[in-house]
């Protein structure tokens, strides 16, 4: 335990309560196997009684050196590794990587491929938000939403399985478009899913939104202001819940998002309740996009003309997409050979987790678990 105390030394602590009874500080170690830390995250809490004075996150338990591996694989061989980072939203990882390399190769995926990509990414966003809602509600004590959300998420995983054979780490896209043509009945399944899940989202809201105890446990908990979000580089639903109307799908559209009309839900207070509302609204917006995309899916090739051996010209580019957790960016440096010289992944969970300390300071221990839940972090992406 001594080395953790040393590492906490730098923490400038919140003001301590000079109580009459002079309660002593407590250093508690939460994780890395704690049930509510969504994977292997270890949080060292410095407590004054029940109040949190300061926290420090110890990460790296799931570090697999993805960026080092990238330098020893060819471009298309690295594709499956990308799904293993944020294993909950694997499809968006794949989309980001493929589009980055396509940008390097200066080629454009055909419209049909783009439509398929948008449909699958938005389905994946709903699945990721559902998983988030289930586990987040479970941490705060509501047992039932977990079963509802996982039952509905199962439908999405079935569509993935039918389309590309895998449920979670799908490896659905290839550089230049999609490899698999949509199975017949794909549109029917997706439409059926949309109609199936639309009332289900209202069902989640019925359970939680006006539930007094849920409101009391989430309103005013883990507040972060818009300025802090920008300074800490926090993106995604957390940023939008603090009132910043910014979404890469609108700001810098990629993969023909510009053709679909959808809004970006934002709320002002930047607390756990607002992040919950933003993500619920985002699920509905994703459904709108999917419905439009399924209607207008054009015929045509699904793969652009890509050389058999991908050797992009020398140069570097940065391409980022709106993953369910925030801005997921790929900075690829190519030296003209078949293997990337350097692939840097900018993971949203890693940067959002950094905001945990400022959001939790002064709150109670029970809120630390609620805030970790609301940040929606996936440790595969944090540790890479």
């Amino acid at each position: 335990m001594t080395e953790t105390v040393k590492s906490l030394s730098h923490l400038e602590l919140g003001e301590r309560d000079e109580t009459f009874l002079g309660s002593n500080e407590l250093i508690i170690n939460m994780g890395p196997q704690h049930p509510a830390t969504h994977g292997v995250l270890r949080v060292i809490l410095k407590l004054d009684g029940e109040k949190v004075l300061g926290t420090e996150c110890v990460i790296g338990y799931l570090h697999r050196g993805v960026e080092k591996i990238a330098e020893n694989r060819t471009y298309s061989m690295f594709n499956p590794y990308v799904d293993r980072m944020d294993y909950v939203a694997a499809v968006s990882n794949g989309l980001g990587y493929c589009e980055a390399v396509e940008k390097l190769l200066n080629i454009q995926a055909p419209p049909r491929a783009n439509h398929i990509r948008v449909i699958l990414t938005e389905l994946n966003r709903i699945a990721s938000h559902q998983l988030w809602l289930g586990t987040h509600a479970l941490d705060i004590g509501a047992i039932t939403p977990l079963f509802y959300t996982f039952r509905d998420r199962e439908e999405i995983l079935k569509v993935f399985e039918k389309y590309c054979g895998a449920r979670l780490t799908t490896h659905a896209f290839r550089i230049g478009g999609c490899l698999y043509e949509t199975y017949e009945g794909f549109e029917r399944d997706v439409k059926k899913f949309c109609d199936f899940v639309q009332p289900k989202i209202d069902e989640y809201e019925e359970l939680l939104t006006t539930n007094r105890i849920w409101v009391e446990r989430t309103k005013g908990v883990g507040v972060i202001s818009a300025a802090d979000c920008k300074a800490l580089g926090v993106t995604g639903p957390v940023l939008r819940a603090s009132g910043v109307k910014w979404d890469i799908r609108k700001a810098q559209p990629y993969a023909n998002y510009s053709e679909f009309d959808f809004e970006i839900p934002t709320r002002g207070a930047g607390d756990t309740y607002d992040r919950y509302m933003v993500r619920m609204a985002e699920m509905r917006q994703s459904l709108r996009i999917i419905r439009q995309a399924v209607e207008r899916i054009p015929e045509g090739p699904i793969m652009a003309k890509v050389p058999k051996v991908i050797k992009p010209p020398v140069g570097e580019i940065y391409h980022s997409i709106e993953a369910p957790k925030g801005e997921l960016g790929y900075f690829i440096v190519s030296d003209g050979s078949t293997q990337p010289y350097r692939v840097r992944v900018r993971p949203p969970s890693f940067v959002n987790l950094q905001a945990l300390d400022s959001m939790v300071r002064g709150q109670l221990v029970a809120d630390v678990i609620a805030v970790i839940g609301t940040l929606d972090i996936v440790l595969g992406e944090v540790d890479r």
């Binding site: 309560d17 109580t19 009459f20 009874l21």
Partner: protein, 172 residues
């Protein structure tokens, strides 16, 4: 309600109370003595029942055993016990102990013998307090002629509560 085998219950309960009392002072571990104290209090509640005072017995269980003893245990747990256990338990002052207990014993004997001669000492013979309306009688007495004492006592408690809050409150 005709009394049932009172003599047996009387001796059993008073023995229980005595043993509990002794245990309270001889136990080295604070929690054990607290439990022993609870046993004595419950035994007392039993004896009250035998004196046809069910209301007092009920209150005894709720207040003493259920309320105060829980707070005793709270305090015992929060204050760390190691220090208390190391200190010497008995201060070996036998002489003072004998004198004090002797005086107390004399007092009891005096009161008991006198009560038969001076009528007013134990006002009413026990059985008279009708068993069914016991609570009503207590209520009437409390709010009737002992109203003032009742109010003063509640004021005192209020002061104690305010004091406790002031002490424990972190930031006023």
């Amino acid at each position: 309600m005709q009394p049932v085998a009172t003599t047996f219950f009387f001796y059993f309960l008073s023995a229980l109370a005595l043993v509990g009392g002794v245990l309270v002072i001889t136990r080295r571990n604070a929690v054990h003595s607290a439990l022993a104290l609870i046993v004595t209090l419950l035994a007392l509640a039993g004896i009250y029942l035998m004196l046809y005072a069910p209301f007092v017995a009920g209150v005894q269980i709720i207040l003493y055993a259920g309320g105060i003893m829980v707070l005793f245990l709270f305090v015992i747990m929060l204050v760390n016990l190691e220090r208390a256990e190391k200190e010497k338990q008995f201060n070996k002052q036998w002489l003072v102990a004998i004198v004090a207990s002797g005086a107390l014993g004399l007092l009891f004997v005096k009161v008991f013998t006198e009560s038969k001669t001076i009528p007013g000492l134990l006002q009413k013979p026990l059985a008279e307090l009708a068993e069914t309306s016991n609570t009503q009688q207590v209520g009437l007495a409390l709010y009737g002629n002992y109203m003032l004492a009742f109010e003063i006592a509640s004021l005192l408690l209020l002061v104690a509560i305010v004091g406790a809050v002031v002490m424990a409150k972190k930031k006023i």
